[in-house]
Subunit: 233 residues, 2 copies
């Protein structure tokens, strides 16, 4: 049976399916949706260590960041269940792996949507994370463990940020750096008076449908019954 | 040959050994020492995943936190070089593994030194990290991945803190949570006007000696020559 996509779910089907989800769960859906944002997104470029990539995805979910972009140049993303703790199923994960110019495809897609490309770099000329302006949507790119971001991202970045450090060690672990950045930016964003970081009602509706489908085990049986009942009316 | 300990290094021997360290390196020692703190310390209680424990140690070094306490109840700490990036050699790492009551030994030792025990907990009654007062030395305890802090730490903790979150996932990865807490607390501490978080000159001197010894490959040969030269004067 063909898997039903969120955009195929009518309001009537949504209402029917939500009848099979507990009230507590539905309340939780709305609470989380109210705090969800696409104003910040995270890009993982060619991350080697599965622990790192998965930990970043979990962090995004924890801080209400809906979209994660995964560029797989040489290194394919592998899910690590123990690290993820189910976080991925609540997110929109976009993968770039088909073409030669994966990093450029991702950057162009994000710029077309109005994102400012933010790269992390400990070097001179980078601004402190606290100075990063939040008025425009931000795509935070985390580069590969040892070599950092690619030349493509370096050339296309609109701004470079750094986390102030005081030790001998030159860089933080990547999942740690991403977490500090995402927490700082997202908590600052939530303290801003405007609501332009929140999802639109259309976006919320689409995600609500996706979550509803994912939350019901073997939803295809219920969907079949729904269409059957409709015919019989 | 017996390994020389920092407290056996006289001022004359220190000066002699520092003659074999580049000026740039010595300047860096002093810069890092000036930012080092024992006002915050981190306790790792029985962490299972080597990646997590090592990432926390690296984070401590990056944020100038000198002391890390490692309680090894069932799980022994294993160094992971790729994650550590050499960070451990600049830190004072205290291990608790000999007695039956490892967690209690660690907590008692910290309380005797005037530390407030800070445990992380996402539950009600925990204060937000931004509300944590910094006037007293703080020992931040990170508990085991799935079960969290032990009953001993729960009973002995002076305060419980949480990181505000907005998703479905109930907890952050432990290396991520530690990093957010350590970065927030240490950067706030550095903005305070008083200097009581800095190391004393005696503490700096001891660490300077330790770093000097560690920075010279086969220092025992130079130390032998130093004592030989002294005799021949």
């Amino acid at each position: 049976m063909k898997k039903t996509q969120p955009n195929e779910v009518s309001p009537a089907l949504l209402a029917y399916l939500q009848g099979f989800i507990s009230d507590d769960r539905k309340v939780r859906f709305e609470e989380v949706l109210a705090e969800r944002t696409r104003h910040i997104t995270c890009v993982l470029e060619n991350i080697v260590d599965a622990h790192n990539a998965n930990a970043v995805i979990r962090t995004c979910e924890c801080f209400g960041i809906q979209d994660v972009h995964v560029i797989e140049n040489e290194h394919r993303f592998k899910a690590a269940k123990k690290v993820l703790q189910g976080a991925h199923k609540w997110l929109s994960i976009f993968k770039y792996k088909e073409t030669e110019s994966k990093s450029m495809d991702c950057i162009r897609a994000l710029k077309a949507k109005g994102y400012k490309i933010v790269a992390t770099s400990p070097h001179a000329g980078s601004i402190d994370i606290h100075e990063l302006e939040l008025n425009q949507p931000l795509a935070l790119v985390m580069g590969q463990e040892n070599i950092g971001i690619s030349e493509v991202v370096k050339a296309e970045a609109d701004v470079f940020v750094k986390i102030p450090m005081q030790g001998f060690t030159e860089s933080l672990n990547i999942s740690v750096a991403a977490a500090i950045l995402l927490q700082e930016i997202s908590s600052r964003l939530r303290r801003i008076e405007t609501d332009n970081w929140k999802l639109s009602e259309i976006e919320k509706d689409e995600i609500r449908k996706e979550w509803t489908l994912k939350n019901i085990y073997r939803n295809e049986l219920l969907i079949e019954r729904f269409y059957q009942d409709q015919k019989n009316v």
